[in-house]
Amino acid sequence: MSVEVEWRDYDVVVVGSGGAGSIAARAAAEDGASVLVVSKDPIACSDTKISEGIATVRESGSGDDSEETLSENLRIAGGDLPAQEVTDAFASDSKTAYDTVRQYGLRPEIDADRQGPQSLPLPLGGHTRRRSVGHINSGIAFGHANWQAVVGEARIDYLEDAWFLDLAETNGVVSGGLIYDAARGVLVAVRAPSVVIAAGGLSTLFFPKTDTMRGNTGDSYAIAARAGADLVDMEQIQFLPFCLASPPSYEGLLCGEPVMASFLGVLRDNNGKVILDGVYLRTRAECSSAIMRAVEDGRGSPNGGAFLDMTANKTPPKSGPYFMKFVETVLPSAFRNARQALGKEAATCEIPWEVRPAAHYHMGGIRTDEHCASIGGNDGATMEGVTGLFAAGQAMGGVFGANRLGSTSLTEGAVFGIRSGQAAARHARSKSVADDEVLNGLIERTQARFGQKGDRSATQIKMELQKACWDLIGPVRTAERLDEIDSKLDGWAEELDRVVIPTYGTWNQAFLEYEELRNMLDTARAVAAAARERDGSLGGHVRLDKSEISAFSWPYSTMVRRGDNGQMTARRIERPRTPLRQLISYKLKEAWRKAQVKMLHLMPAEMQDRKLEARYKAIMGAGDKAPEVYPGSPDAAIADGKQA
């Protein structure tokens, strides 16, 4: 007997219940649309919930902040890849969208003078203004608000433990989609003119070398690509350099940021040789690539990373104690991970820490306009993409380009959640859904998978794939490796038909794994295609076989589209460049900061100690506590714009 099918009709289907999905659903419902939320994790359980909970709120920390400044900060950090309409939308809505989340119960501390949410004491790296707001209980506070947005609104229907499998699409128009409701063991076929994809990122391609939720299997991108949508900047994956490599239970979790290495911290290879100094001034990408280059060269640490050596900070009699306070307080949750995982000697910085990069966030994603609608087309000639398809949150590409600034992602979820929900509701009002033919085809193919016989397990292929993704499309890449991943992906794609799947409907784990594997394969293919097209290092994309792409060259984004044969083809579209004057001033500041470090190293020990003591005092103020830094952004690298 085949798995049963239930038919439903809605105006808007929202895939995902993280920050972007929950807020999108609520916005669509408030615009009068009938809404179904589909979430494979329990409602609101997502990266948003497990995040550090720091959000960008324009003007929260300084009176001279403006939409222009915020929008420009995003574009410069992103290597000029983001489209200005999109960064402008982010900048214009960041305050109101944050207030919307507050209506669902997010309660920040209040800055009495400014009559608004209290922002962190320093601007996060790359932000030229203080505007990042932290929250008690971190991301969990956002989790409660998102939960309230969905569960507390009777007009929203929701299904949790339900996997959205594919869009129903004909001639570039969406007419709904197919869902596997694992809790009830049925397929749900939904007719809907608008579908919002807010199903998160792809970091699970690199599991266990990631700090994100298990569900980031690239579903957003694969589902959109299979319906013919353009994906943008797919090579741009953000890897955090300092994550744990052992013990196994802690693998991938964050233990530090460049800033934590402080003035004298260095990275060493397995032989104790310094592979990077001035770590605190480096970007994440610089640290990650130094570590991975040592590993490539056979000088990596036992678990395939390097050693972050902060011992020199600790020994000087005057500044040493300040350093210890700094390291304990600057990134409290990361430090807690390090202490639990590496033990007491490491926590007192008497021994170096073994660190290894881990996947954190995907800057690329579904290509959309500033109202989150899928778009296509080439240079200067944007066209409508897949009609009825919208994207928000990590699923949406093009907001951050080559690099995401700290605290911007939670805001991105709210801003584009609202915009996508409203646009989807608007679109639904004008459209009715065509026939059920496409859905029937999807149902038939899906039902046939239950009871599939074979000799492979999707879980095991997933693990082989994860290992290969790390080696071949991870923090460092080469043309050869891209070829190798492609041929491996071809092989696994053929094996999909040999995966064993039992017949029963309720919580069929083998079927779930199969579906996620299918998404991971398509997503990995898109990353590889974009990584080949971008033939130089930029932001989150490091090519060992090519040189750095200069900030002064003409910027372009990569676009990937899936062909009927399942292969991905990539192309470029040009982006406008930030005026040279601004770029040059930015580069000069960076060079000056690096020169200062060199001077520090040349000083006699005693003088150095006194100098450092003064600087720690300046950073930590009277409170003897370092200003907390958002762990999960380029922020912490002082080179990205923070003075210390």
């Binding site: 969990i140 507390g152 949790e160 939720m213 013990p247 239970s249 095991q460 309720t506």
Partner: protein, 239 residues
């Protein structure tokens, strides 16, 4: 290290033994590591929930030797018995159906008044309750939740409450942006969900250490006062 895992497939139960291979000589694995390794080797379609591996997402709760534990932060020991939590219906292996809990709050959650000044500090207790990761460990041993019986339909939302639901309602009562109406509605919901069960109950236990007894239950009981049904009404209701 050998553990026992209780599997349920398509309704049939089976206990299997799994021998964990330490990856480092002195490794002290978490229970989640054991499950991941079992899935990676001999039981590829082993069903269990996890997300963050860091005690934040709240989905990995299972019963370890009969007690609810957060698997990603519980050390595994020789001979452990791993099974789904006993308080919710099993969907497959260690996965239980959770949605009946949240669904019982549909239509019962008060809405914060719109358009009033958002810039008000919430009290400390509001934040203490916001620490809840929705792990449902607190359902174990809760007599109110037990009143739902084994055959209740989660899809409709459970009739009787539990510590989590009370926490959500009390949190709404503490919200400075709430109105007297919304507070009243939250209290009424708590009474309807069976708050009277708490009167003679020794109290609930939270998986992440929130003081449910003082911050939630006592507060609600005090506020409800004589609005709770008499114990005699109660016995009729359950009968």
């Amino acid at each position: 290290m050998k553990v026992e895992i209780v599997l349920t497939r398509d309704g049939d139960q089976q206990v299997v033994s799994y021998d964990y291979q330490r990856r480092e000589p002195k490794e002290r694995p978490m229970v989640l590591d054991v499950l991941l390794q079992a899935q990676a080797t001999t039981i590829p379609d082993l069903a269990f929930r996890y997300g963050c591996r860091a005690r934040n997402c709240g989905v990995c709760t299972i019963d370890i030797n009969g007690k609810p534990r957060i698997a990603c932060r519980a050390r595994a020991r020789e001979g452990d018995r791993l099974e789904p939590v006993s308080t919710l219906p099993v969907l497959g292996d260690l996965v239980v159906r959770r949605d009946g809990v949240a669904r019982q709050l549909r239509g019962r959650l008060p809405v914060a008044a719109q358009g009033n000044d958002l810039n008000v500090e919430a009290p400390q207790a509001y934040h203490e309750l916001t620490a809840c990761i929705e792990c449902y460990a607190c359902l174990t041993g809760c007599p109110m939740h037990a009143r739902n019986g084994e055959n209740a339909d989660p899809g409709a939302g459970y009739e009787f409450g539990n510590p989590f639901s009370l926490l959500k309602l009390q949190r709404a009562r503490l919200d400075p942006l709430g109105s007297s109406q919304s507070r009243e509605q939250a209290l009424k919901s708590a009474v309807e969900l069976g708050l009277s069960s708490c009167v003679d109950c020794p109290g609930c236990k939270c998986g992440v250490g929130i003081d449910l007894k003082n911050l939630v239950v006592s507060e609600l009981l005090t506020a409800a006062g004589d609005r709770l049904p008499e114990p005699s009404d109660l016995s009729e209701e359950t009968a």
